[in-house]
Amino acid sequence: MSRRNALPGFNLSLGYTLTWLSLIVLIPLSAVFIKSAELTLEQFWQVVTTPRVVASYKLTFGAALAAASINAVFGLLLAWSLVRYNFPGKKIVDSLVDLPFALPTAVAGIALTALWAGNGWVGRIVESFGIKVAFTPLGVLLALVFIGLPFIVRTVQPVLEDLETEIEEAATSLGASRWQTISKVIFPTLYPALLTGFALAFARAVGEYGSVIFIAGNMPMVSEITPLMIITKLEQYDYRGATAIAATMLVVSFVLLIAINSLQSWTAKRTGRSK
């Protein structure tokens, strides 16, 4: 580590990095906490625990958790198919998995709404079974599934690709059935990556706004997400209220970020991948 480094530019590049980071990210973010401090603890608590806001937490975290779980199952299957099987159109499917990263959230929002509304291609079918998706909490769930899918696929896929086939050969030659090999040998290796992908999808879903608001219907107490509560407060010029909710969300984001970073280093250790 302490080998003398002959390369130039350390002070310049680190100095620039820290200055830019402070100006764009750290100082503006600190405004949330400093502004929140204008409220007494009691006022703060009152703002962040009003029934309408609490209902939004339940929806946001509940739907984010459910969406990440759904993606964990189907994303794993998709990653497995992409790595283990040949099928027609595989390259196109692989490229399009990243669509939710590249497609603007507002576009995703109106597209999902058009698809799942009562007169949409899919909405028409599910509504004939008496299930309403658009403009209900189910719509929120759907949008969060859309934006979360690539997180699971893209964290599981590389680990699956790196898996040595020798382990499976050994398990098979020792008499394990295919299902035993998958559940007892492969799955434990994938588990940390799957959990990381789950956490990434969950963290993204908690803060998501654009793709959700079009399909959610945004009914108070029923289908309002927490980021929308911030917007609502801002539109009423209630800057303190908006800031208090934002501070709560930021704390959750920090905790998730730390959890994700520890998960990633755990995954790296378990699988021997550096990144």
Binding site: L77, W80, S81, V145, Y209, A242, K275
Partner: protein, 299 residues
């Protein structure tokens, strides 16, 4: 969060699994898994993409083109291009500087610094917009000073640019750090010892090694910059023809029930997303080919 945006080499042929009795499933299991995966893929990824173009062209080409040449639409396109043209180069310079410091040097607190760079990824876009309202708004820290000097930041173009820089902040840095760490610093050190200046070393040694990752980081950064909705929505003030970016324009005409027009503008953004994925696929294809050539030379 790097794992999700970094390049990977794309799906290789699965022959080595399918032809190995120890790593294959029965055809029945295989096609069931593929069937479920593809059904999920089609329902959640493919159909939303197709529906954008279907809805956009529903009223015919004339209506489609009319929606795109509408003055408000054109001004939203201009603002989106402007915001991206400012924020992407700034984050490119930052990304290269941060990656140089982090990947080529050892210093205490490095992993903490990476976590801080990641912060904008985990902050809700709405909160990202709010922070600039808090700093530059009428009652904010710097707001009164800007108002006295007759400059508008929030509910004006500078606020939109700032929010865009914030949400796209980590893209280039996060793409380059693992890449430059993997390259090590031997080549750069050799170049320096041979008498090259720092800039010469960077241009002739480092840059050729990282160019594909750099291009990918830039196009991802650009896609997000042009498509950002939540953060920009908070700071924009939605002034027609002045502070509406393309995603905001889509929202406004959608809420006026002009669905075909909204999807027409949305289709431009969808094409941008598809182009982004196309460039990504192309870069991955090149990287995979380079890897195979290297392997062939090595054997």
């Amino acid at each position: 969060m790097a794992a999700t945006i970094s390049l990977h080499l794309g799906p290789a042929h699965a022959d080595r699994y399918e032809n190995n009795p120890a790593t294959r499933e029965t055809p029945w299991v295989k096609w069931t898994v593929i069937g479920i995966s593809l059904a999920f893929f089609a329902l959640f990824l493919l159909l939303p993409l197709v529906v954008v173009f279907y809805e956009a062209l529903r009223k015919g080409w004339d209506a489609y083109l009319a929606a795109l040449v509408d003055p408000d639409a054109l001004s939203s396109v201009r603002l989106t291009l402007l915001a991206a043209a400012i924020s992407v180069p700034l984050n490119l310079v930052f990304g290269v500087a941060a990656a140089w410091a982090i990947a080529k040097f050892d210093f205490p607190g490095k992993s903490f610094l990476i976590t801080l760079i990641d912060l904008p990824f985990s902050v809700s876009p709405v909160v990202a917009g709010l922070i600039f309202v808090l700093v530059f708004g009428r009652t904010g820290w710097l707001g009164p000073w800007f108002i006295e000097n007759d400059m508008k930041v929030v509910f004006a173009v500078p606020g939109i640019v700032l929010a865009t820089i914030f949400v796209t902040f980590p893209f280039v840095a996060r793409e380059l750090i693992p890449l430059m760490e993997a390259q090590g610093r031997d080549e750069e050190e050799a170049s320096t010892v041979l008498g090259a200046s720092g800039w010469q070393t960077f241009w002739h040694v480092t840059l050729p090694n990282i160019k594909w990752g750099l291009i990918y980081g830039v196009i991802l950064c650009n896609a997000r910059a042009m498509g950002e909705f939540g953060a920009v929505s908070v700071v924009s003030g939605h002034i027609r023809g002045e502070t509406n970016t393309m995603p905001l324009h889509v929202e406004i005409i959608y809420s006026e029930y002009k669905f075909a027009a909204a999807f027409a503008v949305a289709s431009l953004l969808a094409i941008l997303a598809l182009l982004t994925l196309l460039v990504k696929t192309w870069i991955e294809w090149r990287a995979a080919r380079a890897r195979d050539e290297e392997a062939a030379e090595g054997s």
